[in-house]
Amino acid sequence: MNELTVQNSSVFHGKRINRRTKTVILIILISAIIASALLAGVLISDEAVAADFTNAKQKPSFEHLFGTDWLGRDLFARTMKGLSISIVVGVVASLISAVIAVLVGIAAATGSKTLDGFINWLIDLVMGVPHLVLIILISFACGRGLKGLLAGIAITHWTSLARLIRAEVLQLRSEQYIAVSRKLGKSNGWILINHILPHMIPQFVVGLVLMFPHAILHEASISFLGYGLPPEQPAIGIILSESMKYLSSGMWWLAFFPGLTLVIIVILFDRLGDNLKMLIDPYSAQE
């Protein structure tokens, strides 16, 4: 009993911020960044990132926050545009992936034993090929482009969430209220929609938020390798791969700032996902 009160008081009296407050702050920060990146993607016209040789190779200053590149393009504008592309790709890909995960997870837990075995085998298969190699293969199959990028990321990311959901549904199936529903004559479909799916919503949201940073990192990696979007669309990976040629001439800002922006986004989403997970499932806070 004593321990409990001590723990509580450290949360309320100490300088630590409450987890709910933290989550809200994170959500506000993230939405602000996403909104500004998306706005930038629409508002920043092509002229703003057009070549301007009089201003080429400038170091970061107040006029050009991130400096300019070898063609005189403003790196800040380019990064924000790239970020908007990355965010759209990341959100769409992780959304597809999370939906796949829910469907597959529920199918594995409620279907026949053969189906469950097959899905397990499928998960082993997807996890057995290094993701990057699989994405390269898929984007090669789709002829390199947005479609291949989305398909590649979506197909490689659903596995761990699917396993989580499978375990959760298996546990739910043995709950008493499911048995009662069944005795009341409800069909399997009714139970699925009214009892099981609502339970999956928190898992789905957390899984989605935690999947997003991975998706965006893979998007950047794969466009860094030269797959995915065409070079005219300045995704962050492309900006970074272009910067490699100019590293030896000391233009460090070309590589530093766009990457840093990406890392900040990834960290914020990771924190948000962790905090949401702990709010939904306090037991995992012990981990």
């Binding site: 057995g128 190699v133 390269i136 002829g143 590293l247 990457g259 990834v266």
Partner: protein
Amino acid sequence: MIVKRITNVFFRYALRVITLLFAVSVIGFTLVSLSPVDPVQQYVLSVGSVSPEQRAELEDYWGLNDPPVERFENCLSAILHGDFGTSLLYRRPVIDVIREKFANTFALMLCAWVFSGVIGFILGCVMGANRDRAADKILKRICLLLCSVPTFWLGLLLLLLFSVWLGWFPIGFSSPIGVMNSDVTIWQQIHHLILPALTLSLLSFANVALHTRQKLIDVLESDYVLFAKARGESKRQIMKRHGYRNIIMPALTLQFASFAELFGGSVLAENVFSYPGLGSAVSAAGLNSDVPLLLGITLFSALFVFTGNMIANLLYGAIDPQIKESYANE
């Protein structure tokens, strides 16, 4: 008895690996044939001028006019005979290219694997033993931070810092430019290996460290450690008698199970440092539509990952009696 059980597990796993590899080759083949990129066109581009008749002959020779299933059968029987075709990019048999490139990649991955394992384990122990103190909090932050950093960006930063500014390491290639392969000394090779290996290990040690920390905390909270304390064992004795012994095998298992991430990371690290290994070969193969090489490396990487997973499973079975029993019961 134990030998029998292990061979049993081994064979069951081998069967699984074979079906998975077969599936990988089917999927890989399907994906490649779905691709709108025309391999003949790519070959023609790389060779130069080819007349339409020669082109048609090439298509016939490669069997592109056959139905896909027949092509797949031909392809599979060739693979089973050890013939992976000829790489368009390197103009050599794919198996030779893979062998040569894998030697480079293997050196890189081995360094990174050992280094990240050792560092990760030590840091994990430090964090676990000093739970919730300043050292633990700072190290944990660093580990979480490293989990969110893209491999290639870290590589670029290291390249900037050590190669461009400090000039300690060369910018890329596994050997100096303009020197014959046979003249390259082992020191030069190591010199070129350090930065990519460092990049790769910096990214993977965080995982081991966090895992080891958690395991150690679980151990230190257990009843038998409480009893050891009651018997008057010192902290050092507890770590030595109960700590390390219980956490080293799970950490090793985790390291073996992380071959997929290692391979993925090496693709990026090799591209940043233009290190001539499998990773840069696979991305070049995809970009230049070198279908035989792409398929070959995909199969090879899958085999590599499955091998790691199998070792991890066997280790796991060897250390965890519960799993051992479940094997026996099956």
